[in-house]
């Protein structure tokens, strides 16, 4: 059994209440930070832990905190990103539903480290039940003297509020989130200036994912060095993986980074294999934005080594034969799934969610959606695949925010790895609408690459 740092007590009845959470050692890390450490020492522990942002980009959290500008007389803000809208990702909702105090405790620790006196948790508006849960937990914490004025007699003041979004994927992007929190449309800002210099209300701001903030609790409790011993290489600690799609046991799993993908999919400790006795065709390993891989490349790298669940492990092979950890939204496709249809669906999503500020993203996602739709409906042309790759290249890197890249990568990777399936949709248009292409050779072991012989 892997070690659990975040979900250890998730099945304890009443763990969503302050009382039970405290019985299990909750708020001790917060007390330790406020009473025995300086803010800079907290930042130092988080740096030592090697924690990387769990929201998708994987940027080291301690380093991000140390970049925060600290001009005299200007308030600083911590904003928790609980927008969780990346298709395939549902870990933050799970954590907030079942163990809300872990996030609240993390928010107090992180706010203290950053010198924030007012902090916000921006929760996607559809999560009204979770907003209620968090508000109840905040009231409990305030009652216990963990929030408000002069927390635990240390002289530190903190107010914590929950802010609902309005239903827009783009508000997960940190500058769009800040705009939204200011009561505006979620249009990402041009960077620089980065939020660390000018964020919420023009003040220095840190935006962190729910899981990143929750992870600061075990980091402070055990020390950054202890945390860094878990995991593999530069992928330290544990990671919540949202496992969905055609699995026997979909759900949220906490893994020690470095677990082999094969073990994660097939062992009973995790997903228990592919549902209904079917075979695995493909995996999107880190949320809809990361490149899709056929079964053979997700289980083993092109060198023939077992692929592991870590930042480096999943990206091994670059965009040619690898993918990315992203937000940890692990989506498994069985042999009956159609890659073209899924690619069209994802592109429709990005087109729908584009904020419309940049032409390559606004227009490009729309064009890709149209072309993919005609391919899926059996009216495509052989030249469509190159056209799609061309459009995706014109979006990638040419936009204000990374949504453009997020829309381009799934298309480019699907064509890279499943080109024969796209071609079959052109040559067998009528069949393509009535049944699926099947497994082809996507699950077969790969021949050893020349260079490795």
């Amino acid at each position: 059994m892997g070690r659990k740092l975040l979900l250890e007590h998730i099945n304890v009845p009443g763990i969503n209440t302050l009382e039970v959470y405290r019985q299990k050692g909750g708020y001790a890390a917060m007390e330790k930070a406020l009473k025995t450490l300086t803010p800079d020492e907290v930042v130092e522990e988080v740096k030592k832990s090697g924690l990387r942002g769990r929201g998708g980009a994987g940027f080291p959290t301690g380093m991000k905190w140390s970049f925060l500008a600290k001009p005299e007389g200007v308030p600083r803000y911590l904003v928790c990103n609980a927008d969780e809208s990346e298709p395939g990702t549902f870990k933050d909702r799970y954590l907030m539903t079942h163990i809300p105090h872990l996030l609240i405790e993390g928010m107090i620790i992180a706010s203290f480290a950053l010198g924030a006196k007012t902090s916000y948790i921006y929760v996607r508006g559809e999560m009204m039940p979770q907003i209620r849960i968090l508000e109840r937990a905040i009231a409990e914490a305030k009652n216990a003297g963990f929030l408000g004025k002069n927390i635990l007699g240390t002289g530190y003041d903190l107010e914590l509020y929950v802010q609902p979004g309005g239903g827009a994927y783009i508000c997960g992007e940190e500058t769009a989130l800040i705009e939204s929190l200011e009561g505006k449309r979620g249009n990402p800002r041009i960077k620089p200036p980065f939020p660390a210099i000018a964020g919420l209300y023009g003040c220095p701001t840190v935006v962190n994912n729910v899981e990143s903030i929750a992870a600061t609790v075990p980091i402070i409790r055990d020390g950054g060095d202890e945390y860094a011993k878990i995991g593999i290489g530069r992928s330290t600690g544990t990671k919540l993986i949202s496992a969905g799609g055609n699995l026997v046991k979909p759900g949220v799993y906490e893994i020690e980074l470095g677990v082999p993908v094969e073990e994660f999919i097939y062992s009973d400790e995790y997903c228990g294999g592919i549902a209904n006795g079917k075979r695995l065709k493909a995996v999107v390993a880190g949320g809809s934005s990361v490149p899709i891989l056929p079964a053979n490349l997700i289980l083993k790298t092109i060198e023939g080594n077992a692929r592991v669940m870590s930042y480096e492990g999943l990206s091994e092979g670059g965009f040619v034969s690898g993918t990315m950890m992203g937000s940890g939204g692990f989506i498994a496709f069985d042999e009956d799934q159609c890659i073209v249809r899924n690619t069209w669906n994802f592109t429709r999503f990005y087109h729908h969610e584009s904020c419309g500020q940049c032409s390559p993203c606004r227009e490009g996602t729309g064009w890709m959606e149209k072309v993919l739709h005609r391919l899926e409906m059996g009216h495509g042309k052989m030249s469509d695949m190159d056209l799609l790759v061309d459009v995706s290249k014109k979006i990638e890197g040419n936009t204000i925010c990374p949504l453009g890249d997020a829309a381009a990568w799934p298309v480019a990777s699907a064509i890279r790895h499943f080109r024969d399936e796209f071609e079959w949709h052109v040559t067998n248009g009528a069949e393509a609408v009535s049944h699926n292409y099947g497994l082809a050779h996507y699950a077969d072991p790969l021949p050893k690459p020349e260079a490795a012989v």
Binding site: F90, A168, D334
Partner: protein
């Protein structure tokens, strides 16, 4: 095109709603009351079912901002209804991971059961439905949510949808 509707019918906000407004505004620094806009629109919609132009004008007045600033926001975010809906709006996730486990069939079933197309309201005024994007519940799909509480219904089957619809009808008729 998204447009605001009903620029005529006067709107009154309840005392409870105004109390909520004051609580929202107290969460932000002096002069940053516009931050309360999204939570306020949710609260108005929960009470009135949708956001008419007049209701939005009143929100603008309360926050001391221009009406257009409210319209801009209400038309950008997908959760705000710019026209009247059924009493229960069934919002089904239509994104990839849910489609792997049968979301498209569930949407077809809902369309047939309710007898209305996406976005339309049933004759009795009780139901409307629409596809929405990933609801962060992909491991428990197919899923749908019903506002204003945003209650979740997971691992849907045609049978569980039928039960839900008849339960809601019974509830509405009591």
């Amino acid at each position: 095109m998204l447009k605001v509707e009903d620029t005529q019918t006067p709107v009154e906000f309840s005392a409870a709603l105004l109390e909520q407004f004051a609580d929202f505004v107290s969460r932000y620094p002096e002069g940053k009351q516009k931050s309360a806009l999204l939570p306020m629109l949710h609260a108005v919609q929960a009470e009135h079912g949708w956001l008419s132009a007049k209701a939005m004008d009143k929100v603008a007045e309360y926050l001391n901002i221009e009406s257009i600033e409210v319209y801009e926001v209400a038309t950008f975010y997908t959760m705000y209804f710019l026209r009247p809906q059924g009493k229960y709006v069934l919002e089904v996730c239509r994104t990839g991971p849910c489609c792997l486990v049968g979301a498209e069939k569930i949407m077809d079933h809902i369309e047939q059961t309710l007898g209305v197309k996406e976005g339309e309201v049933t004759a009795d005024g009780l139901f409307s439905w629409r596809g929405v994007e990933c609801l962060a519940a992909c491991g428990f799909g197919p899923v749908l949510q019903i506002g204003p509480e945003y209650t979740f219904y997971e691992k849907l089957t045609p049978e569980s949808v039928d039960r839900l619809v008849s339960d809601l009808k019974a509830k509405a008729n009591n």
